[in-house]
Symmetry: C2
Subunit: 306 residues, 2 copies
């Protein structure tokens, strides 16, 4: 059993997770991070206390953070979604709670959930890549998570892949997530529509990644072009990651991954083109299995992966 | 103490290494790999037996390989320098020797030597990048080497960095080593000289990385342009590697690194431009300290890093 919290920009979700990976006693609070750090901290304390009452023997709570956790696991160094910088969340919570607090990046939490109960179960060396609004990652080597000396390992969305027509939120040009995220799909299609390309996407008032993937499946030329471009750059990024740490398997998660085999096949095809040693070093690439609950499940199992 | 072998394309070097990292009883044989696998195998057996006579209590010998060693450490999957493919070197040697045989990629061996006695001594998470004819790498996480599920981890010379005007030996276009190696310097200067650019490099009948670095130091415009280009791409690659595994320190080795602070400053400057989190996640970048003997020293210490 374990207590896990998924601290999102919109919702704080907490739950008690069984040893089989099932959540019972799930609780929600709206994050409303504009209220400031102290208000969110108060809510976290109440939520954790309520979960502790149900599971009083638990010795640790894991919290998934939408941002960078310091290498020592003590501090949220940066979370644009929460408007936090340098917040000593572990100390601040432990001062008010009778339980150890463990912090982890949210994509790494999702990776732990997949390793414990999902698509990469039992795999010693595995990389998760989450394709959502941005691109995140989680990495497991020898069954333990890799978070890096400064806490910025698996920030693979910011690997520079080549010049792009718009600049990343991080300030750099050419980041993977400007080629291979929901935002990237929308920006690319917007740009091409403005160039006068005809497409069924013109019907949509508001574009998002889901719509573009759907239209690509139905054969729209522009949507297909955008998805193929995403797969191409993601394949190149996967081959570059293999040149660094050579995991045995990649699992693709996040909202875009719900497009299923249609997307997976394109990513696998592109990856094979770029792998350095396609004769003897081809990683498996699969789809993540857990969805919205991965954050809570992974956070609740964090203690087994550090 | 340990027995280490540096199996190079030209020379097989073996030695006994003290616990302080000093080599005594160094022995050489010419590799002459054109003779075929069996002849090199015979020479390795004789060399190791001779070293065992001097150090009869050693239980393992480490061998640095100029190529890819399989993830399980049993097989040389590919070594263009030796003309080997899929050679079960561990089994073939152990059948004729009374000692455990441990295989490792040569750049990883150099990384071990730096971790045990050189520039990254005592560092838990460190990456070595070797700049020679090509670009190699070694990675230590939690004081252990990372070789990957298929043995191709730290093949960072083949990360794709952008389009280049010539194709890499591996068959891909845009590999880091076509931008940031001795070969890359020569190819770039050759290309620019053919375009009619004036340069002191015109005096040299045969160009190599060392000459180009020397001329860059003395202020030759073309040589400087080539070295700046190398540093730019290497900085981008280092920032991409930090986005994957975020080591606390990088050490730059290989023949080009003998250019010293002149090159190091350029690489550090370029890296800072591309780092994703320059405010709180800046790795140290230093020069390797061990030179030609790093291969033997690292191989002899392999057993402590696996």
């Amino acid at each position: 059993m374990g207590i896990g919290i998924d601290l999102g920009g919109t919702t704080i979700k907490g739950g008690i997770v069984s040893t089989q990976g099932h959540i019972f006693e799930e609780r929600y609070i709206m994050t409303e991070s504009r209220r400031g750090y102290r208000a969110v901290l108060d809510d976290l304390v109440q939520l954790i206390k309520a979960l502790q009452e149900i599971a009083p023997t638990e010795k640790a709570v894991g919290i998934g953070i939408p941002g960078i956790v310091s290498g020592d696991g003590s501090t949220v160094l940066s979370s644009p979604n929460l408007f936090w910088k340098n917040r000593a969340l572990k100390k601040d919570l432990e001062a008010r709670l009778s339980i150890n607090v463990l912090l982890v990046n949210d994509a790494t939490a999702a990776c732990i959930a997949e390793a414990a109960f999902g698509s990469i179960i039992g795999r010693a060396n595995a990389m998760m890549i989450t394709l959502g609004t941005g691109v995140g990652g989680g990495l497991i080597l020898s069954h333990k998570i890799i978070t890096g000396a400064h806490g910025v390992a698996t920030e693979v969305g910011h690997m520079i892949m080549g010049e792009n027509f718009y600049t990343c939120n991080c300030g750099k040009n050419g980041c993977l997530e400007t080629f291979a995220s929901g935002t990237a799909l929308v920006r690319y299609c917007d740009m091409r529509l403005k160039q006068g390309v005809s497409s069924s996407l013109k019907k949509s008032n508001i574009l998002d990644g889901k719509i573009i993937l759907h239209e690509a499946k139905t054969g729209d030329k522009l949507a297909l072009e955008a998805v193929d471009r995403l797969a191409e750059y993601l394949g190149m990024a996967i081959s570059n990651i293999s040149d660094v740490i050579d995991p045995e398997i990649y699992t693709i998660g996040g909202g875009l991954s719900y497009a299923g085999d249609f997307l997976l096949e394109k990513i696998s095809f592109a990856t094979k083109k770029y792998l350095t040693y396609p004769d003897f070093a081809v990683p498996e690439i699969v789809l993540a299995e857990l969805r919205n609950e991965a954050g809570i499940i992974g956070a609740a199992n964090l203690m087994h992966y550090i």
